[in-house]
């Protein structure tokens, strides 16, 4: 079970994603826009974010720039789950790599089951990464000593 911040502007879709992820055992906190999401993230300390790029007022990319500027949030896994089609997404692939995004899901072709599977996969990767990172940090400290 993980705390997931779901940034989804559409109310009805957000409800479906909320229910499916909650049913899979996760604690889901929805936010409709970038500003609210930043405040909520600060408050709940999410373990994963699901993000639509097409938001009102501030885009998902703006959110990511702001979010990644805080040292605490630079490594937090973010899944892009968006209406932006793969053909358009290809042009900004490099940019999103810089923003440390590993998973992109095209919303019209992603079932709830596939979304839940992607979340679980991302969390599993994150869990295996964490002990390795901790190991690396310890090794660095020992070398420095």
């Amino acid at each position: 079970m993980a705390r997931i911040l779901l940034i989804e502007p559409d109310y009805i879709l957000a409800r479906s994603y909320y229910e499916a992820l909650s049913q899979a055992g996760h604690q889901v906190i929805p936010a409709a826009g970038a500003q609210t999401a930043l405040l909520v993230a600060d408050d709940i300390k999410p373990e994963l974010i699901i993000l639509e790029l097409q938001l009102v007022e501030h885009s998902g990319v703006e959110f990511l720039y702001e979010f990644r500027s805080y040292p605490d949030w630079q490594r937090l896994p973010v899944i892009l789950h968006t209406q932006v089609p793969p053909a358009e997404f290809n042009q900004s692939r490099q940019l999103l790599k810089q923003l440390n995004i590993q998973t992109y899901l095209y919303k019209p072709q992603t079932t709830l089951r596939a979304l839940v599977a992607a979340v679980d996969r991302q969390l599993a990767v994150d869990q295996t990464d964490q002990p390795q990172a901790a190991g690396r940090r310890q090794k660095q400290r020992m070398t420095a000593a």
Partner: protein, 240 residues
């Protein structure tokens, strides 16, 4: 899809593109609500599954239409890459499977043999095959003597590697396609021998393939009739 007669067609194309993008949202909402009903184990799961499949098929059509328009408007940015035809057919089959079952159509995949890779826009090729397949799945049961079999298949011809959809129905001819193209802007039912509806999926496939500098045409596969496209094989890619 053409932009031959001045500015007006481009303006209306852009407007239709926004309508298509807008339509995707309610269709996606219906599909995901239906899926959630299934996941929650509601009493009538069959109805939820049917609603979901239908909404997803409509979503694909709208999405593929939007892709066709975008590819035609931005053909300079076409991302061409080495593509395995068999894997594209397999993925298209996965997308069409549920829809075929809804219509009682037996969908088969015939990708035996080694065809190597071709240079193509993978997403566009898959979208074209899925659009074409959806249109044929809807059309087959409405015919006078319905033969509810559809095969996603590939074979080698002297012009290259052919990928398409095939059925025992002899209505899938070059003449029907030609007539359909001619009537498409003027008739509610341009593919008269083939489809009781507008057959939009066939024309969306046609437009996507055109944007990728390919052609939709009639072809035969074993004893079946069908529509497909020829992908030029590349000898250098065969070495990879």
């Amino acid at each position: 899809m053409g932009e031959g007669s001045g500015e007006q067609p481009i303006l209306s194309q852009a407007l239709l593109l926004s309508v298509a993008e807008e339509l995707k949202l309610p269709l996606l909402q219906i599909a995901r609500r239906a899926e959630q009903t299934q996941l929650a184990g509601a009493p009538d799961l069959t109805a939820a599954a049917d609603i979901r499949t239908t909404a997803e098929a409509a979503l694909r059509l709208v999405d593929n239409y939007a892709l066709a328009v975008r590819l035609q408007l931005e053909s300079a940015e076409l991302l061409i890459e080495p593509v395995s035809v068999s894997s594209v057919l397999y993925d298209a089959g996965q997308q069409l499977d549920g829809y075929a079952k809804n219509y009682g159509v037996e969908l088969e995949l015939h990708i035996a043999g080694r065809y190597g890779t071709v240079m193509a826009h993978r997403h566009g090729l898959e979208a074209a095959l899925v659009s074409l397949g959806s249109a044929l799945i809807e059309a087959l049961p409405a015919q006078e003597s319905p033969q509810l079999k559809l095969q996603l298949a590939t074979h080698r011809s002297r012009y290259g590697i052919v990928a398409g959809l095939y059925s025992p129905t002899p209505a899938l001819t070059a003449a029907a396609l030609r007539r359909g193209r001619r009537l498409q802007r003027h008739s509610r039912q341009p593919l008269l021998e083939l489809s009781h509806a507008s057959g939009a999926g066939v024309f969306v496939a046609d437009a996507i393939l055109q944007a990728m500098h390919l052609r939709l045409g009639a072809s035969r596969h074993h004893r079946l009739y069908g529509l497909g496209t020829v992908l030029p094989s590349n000898n250098q890619l065969q070495l990879v």
